[in-house]
Symmetry: C2
């Protein structure tokens, strides 16, 4: 066994608690006092176990992405059809963003939307991870366009930006109190915007195609 006085708390459990606090309040608004209070441990214990606030957040973020936020990667990786991937992505997001006894929305999306200038690097880091996700979506659409799952003139980048925006909007709606059913309906509406395959022409009695 390890020498010295043993740690009085479970490190993984504490990290899980830190995820919840950062998820709820974001990076800047989460104070050390808020964390130590929620985790039931003293500040020196927290610093000894995780380093400083930034390191703790980054570790919490990493764990979040491999657990609560992993459904996005899974949907893209496990669904060969692009349409089904997006369908599953949106529907699972509707559930994930409104899970009971958990903070609303997505930590990656909301944790650093307003931050002070000295936390700008944290915001940039989250933005970069979001950009990677959007690029994965765009690549999926580009591949689907090449295999004929999407019309040849599909703008993969634009379509990925749309569904990324819908996810961010769903997260915001969840934070605003939307229910799971509300988010599911948003997801279904977003799926109606899926590009038409050849043979089916522009829908609706609209003049939307102005460009």
């Amino acid at each position: 066994m390890r020498k010295g006085r043993p740690r009085s708390f479970d490190r993984d459990e504490a990290l899980e608690g830190a995820i919840a606090v950062f998820w709820e309040h974001g990076y800047d608004a989460t104070s050390i006092a808020l964390l130590t209070n929620a985790l039931g441990i003293g500040a020196p214990s927290l610093y000894a176990a995780f380093g400083d606030k930034r390191a703790l957040f980054l570790e919490a973020l990493d764990r979040y992405m491999r657990t609560y936020g992993a459904f996005t990667e899974h949907a893209l990786a496990e669904e060969p059809d692009a349409r089904h991937a997006v369908q599953r992505l949106l529907r699972e997001a509707a559930a994930a963003y409104t899970r009971p006894a958990r903070p609303r929305g997505c930590l990656l999306i909301t944790a650093a939307t307003n931050c002070s200038p000295q936390s700008a690097d944290i915001a940039a880091h989250l933005r970069e991870i979001r950009a990677v996700g959007a690029r994965a979506l765009s690549d999926k659409f580009a591949a689907a366009t090449r295999t004929g799952q999407l019309p040849p003139d599909t703008d993969a980048h634009a379509l990925a930006a749309f569904y990324a925006a819908v996810l961010q909007g769903m997260s915001a709606q969840a934070r605003d109190g939307a229910t799971t059913a509300d988010l599911q309906q948003i997801a279904e509406a977003a799926l109606r915007a899926w590009p038409q395959t050849a043979g089916q022409e522009a829908v609706g009695s609209t003049d939307a195609a102005t460009k």
Copy 2:
């Protein structure tokens, strides 16, 4: 003329500057030092002119809603057709959220997404204003359903939640660096989700209608 030493700065100009700072950093992350630095005035002058930080934010928010954010109300009020209203709403949002020399996105949406527990009332206030906007959208859709502009089975609440989510997503995308053109393409994609009027059946080669 008024007695006493005259104010050395223009109050409206200072309020405009405060809008910019709150717009950029949000409520919590905007410190008084950040404000006095940006406005070029001392803290006592700011407090004498606007009260405390909360009152200044609320006044800045009010002015924002009657200027930069007024396009949303205008689109709904001035466009009799619901489809055209949403079309105008989304397209103007794409421009408004990426205006050069102005902060990205929407102050109403982003200014209090992560906030400390003691600013929870500010967050609740913004949420309430967003809810009023969503309800206005929903009412517009309900009226359009009654006049036949939308299918009789349209869920006005769900459709409003969708477009509200798209607006919030566009704001987030703008903050993530999206260009005006990017947002315009998101807007056009969202418009493709507009419900089909009678006679045109479910679109696409999908099995989306699982419910």
